[in-house]
Amino acid sequence: MELGYLAGSIVKLAALIGWIYGLLWGLGRPKAWQKAVTIILAFGVIQAAILAKFGDIALFSAFDQGLLIQACTMTMVALGLNLIYGFNGQFSLAQWGFYGIGAYCSADITYRWTSGDASGLLVAGLGTILGALALFLVGWLLKKKRGVPVLSAFTFYLIALVAAGFAAVKLGGALSPLLAPYFGSPEAPGVLASPLALQIVFFLSIIVAGAFAAEVSFIFGLPVLSLGSDYFGIATLGFAIIVKTLLVNSDTILPFPEMKGGRGMIGIPKLTNWIWVFAFLILVIVIIRNFVRSSTGRATLAVREDEIAARAMGIDVAKNKLMAFVVGSFVAGLGGAIYAHYIGFLAPGSFDFIQGYNPLIIVVFGGLGSMTGTIAASFGWIFFLEGFLRVLLGQLGSDAPSWRLVLYPIALLLLMLVRPQGLLGTVEWGFFKDGNNPIGRAREKLSAAVKLKGSGTKKEGE
């Protein structure tokens, strides 16, 4: 039984890695219709595996589906962290905090919606929109006065955000009673209580959660990113701890009784299914890949390699770091929102900073600055740790699963001692390859031309 399960799991994991390879390869094709076909095929294969049943045994059991969804959310979080840490060189431990913020934010919106209260969506949605407007306004005003110190800029942004939040609370509170009649009663549900409306709200809640996490990361990152690397790391660790503490006290210090503080939030509608997960996974992959391959992304890489040289090239280092941080956190917020609606129960314990090392370890495992490695490591991580290691060790006795948390630090130590650059180093597949954008192609042509001339100067790889 155990061996059969183990073999099955390994086959599934290998098939999934192959699936990722195929997806990335197909997305890397030049024509738009090829990409579209790839996306449909990649979606369809997993959907078929979920639906397929051989007699009594499902090819992809509910447990495997759960692992798949967790792996996809973990991929989103880890890709965001890879952007911040792998591509921009900012050692951040705050990613898990943004994940928690995204999870709780979207969970609160849909929870309130299902209990006939539109205030969650209205306040959070208006808050993020007004907050973004306020941030842009302040940024535009500050641009006119050059050389404003970080601390003062932070103060202005903070005042603007607080004002926007206050306005959103007032406005949302005033608007939500107007919508209340459309929810109807439990016997006669109104327009807004329909399943379609709930799906739309779910989509909006994910976006709002991501945007909220991004705004928080902006206001936090603005002053903190000016610190040095280790200090930035410890400050972000502090952020993760502060978020967890606030979540534990969400019903006492923060005014959210429905989050129930340390007891955990129950009753979140389980709306996540493979369609949503896949759509957002593709979205995140495209966002991160296009960010890294854009001119901003090249500036990001330059900042990682040498800040002073980057500044000499005319790159606004502070702005660049902040942008990578905000995009990474946005993605983490999306991942959190999807996770919340898959698991249906949120406890602050799962957003502990100790768990927060997980995405960091995944990024390091997969190879810093390798998006392929990050995706593969996320899948491998979830299926290995949560999947067959837990089940397999569970066969040995009730205490054995705790061994899995002993085994993985050992694996980590061995990896660091044997292969510190990560399993895949900087290898990229298909879609992520450098040759798949015009500049990368031009660069390849150039290096080929140089080779033809036989100058023999060996350029160092990136």
């Binding site: 601390l151 003062s152 002053p223 280790d230 410890i234 090392y357 980590l412 510190p420």
Partner: protein
């Protein structure tokens, strides 16, 4: 031409005189936060000075323990520039060692078992010191092993590899400790090797009779508090002496200044680093025993938060500076105790890290740190 240079210079000096625009806003914001905090605490202190003093005493107790842990962080960071996340778990191992020595093997009673006629007070003192020394020894062995196995091979690797390794070692100790046959993942009540006596202050110092509460509105303290304060201060003095007056201390300072030059001067840098880990672990072990005695409950993740807060204390005081770590730890202790007393107990972690972020923004080198570009 000279006139144009002069006219070009004028705005620059003007700019310098005015400083960056709107700098006052940030300072006013921080000043406002500080003023509100001070006013809030002062108001509370005014309304109940006795409670305030009691909170200060509790904060001192916590701060002295943090100081013992922070020393290891600050010294290791000063030399190898590594956040040794495993240090907090070494602290936990110290606490558990003393727990097993006391509860399982009754090591604290060995003098009276070996020499039956001995005075019980002397017996308890000698026995407790033995327990503490044993815990320190185990911690030293553990830390030196960790350093040899995990950190030494990575000394020339990128710093992140060493940092991830430190996290890995920390996880290993925590989760290996949580295995059922090691320490188990539960909270374990800790029994001190010596009896606790407490005193209260009301027109002089009176002992609290056990089984009765101290009178209302009095400050009370125990022999544990005195012990922690004495141990922490003694360790500070001892460490100052080591670093300033002994040969190994000179070698440590040289290695922290410039490793390769120190090596050229005939210093065995590897041995110095091992010694640094060892001495930090010894004090962490001492801190672990004292923490367990003071808070009388231990578990396998005991070291995580105190360890992090001690690191924050080291950063607060200026990492690499030993008096800085001490002062930073005392500040952290006060911040936590006042938060617990006046805001809410769970908020203590959040406040501790919020203070860290603010201090880093205002003075990134910490209170006692030397302004150096290398540290960042």
């Amino acid at each position: 031409m000279p006139s144009s240079i002069a006219s070009g210079k004028a705005p620059i000096s003007d700019e310098k005189r005015r400083g960056p625009p709107l700098a006052w806003v940030g300072w006013a914001f921080l000043g406002l936060i500080g003023a509100v905090t001070v006013a809030y605490i002062a108001g509370k202190a005014w309304s109940n000075p006795v409670l305030f003093l009691q909170n200060i005493l509790d904060g001192l107790k916590l701060g002295f323990v943090y100081a013992l842990i922070a020393l290891g962080y600050t010294m290791v960071y000063g030399i190898v520039k590594l956040i040794n996340f495993a240090h907090g778990d070494v602290f936990m191992v110290g606490a558990f060692t003393s727990f097993y020595a006391v509860s399982r093997f009754r090591l604290h009673q060995w003098p009276s078992a070996v020499f039956p006629g001995i005075d019980p007070t002397v017996s308890v003192i000698i026995g407790s010191i033995t327990v503490v020394l044993l815990a320190m020894l185990i911690c030293v062995l553990l830390a030196v092993t960790i350093e040899r196995v995990a950190y030494k091979p990575l000394r020339e690797a990128p710093r992140i590899a060493a940092l991830i390794t430190a996290i890995g070692v920390s996880f290993f100790l925590e989760f290996f400790g949580a295995l059922p046959f090691v320490y188990s993942g539960r909270f374990i009540p800790y029994k001190a090797p010596f009896p606790t006596t407490a005193w209260y202050v009301q027109d002089g110092i009176h002992p609290i009779v056990s089984g009765t509460a101290s009178p209302d509105n009095t400050i009370s303290f125990s022999n544990i508090f005195l012990l922690i304060a004495a141990a922490s201060i003694l360790v500070q003095v001892f460490l100052q002496w080591i670093v300033k007056r002994t040969k190994i201390g000179v070698a440590m300072r040289a290695a922290s200044y410039d490793k390769s030059t120190a090596r050229l001067m005939g210093i065995n840098v590897d041995r110095v680093i091992s010694f640094t880990f060892a001495i930090g672990a010894a004090f962490a072990g001492l801190g672990g025993v004292l923490y367990a005695i003071a808070y009388s409950s231990i578990w396998s993740q005991l070291g995580v938060l105190p360890g992090l807060k001690a690191f924050v204390a080291a950063v607060l005081g200026g990492i690499g500076s030993i008096p800085g770590a001490f002062v930073g730890a005392l500040i952290m202790g006060q911040a936590e105790a006042l938060t617990m007393g006046y805001i809410s107990t769970p908020m203590r972690d959040a406040v501790a890290f919020a203070i860290l972020i603010i201090v880093l923004l205002v003075k990134p080198t910490g209170l006692f740190g030397e302004p150096s570009g290398e540290k960042a």
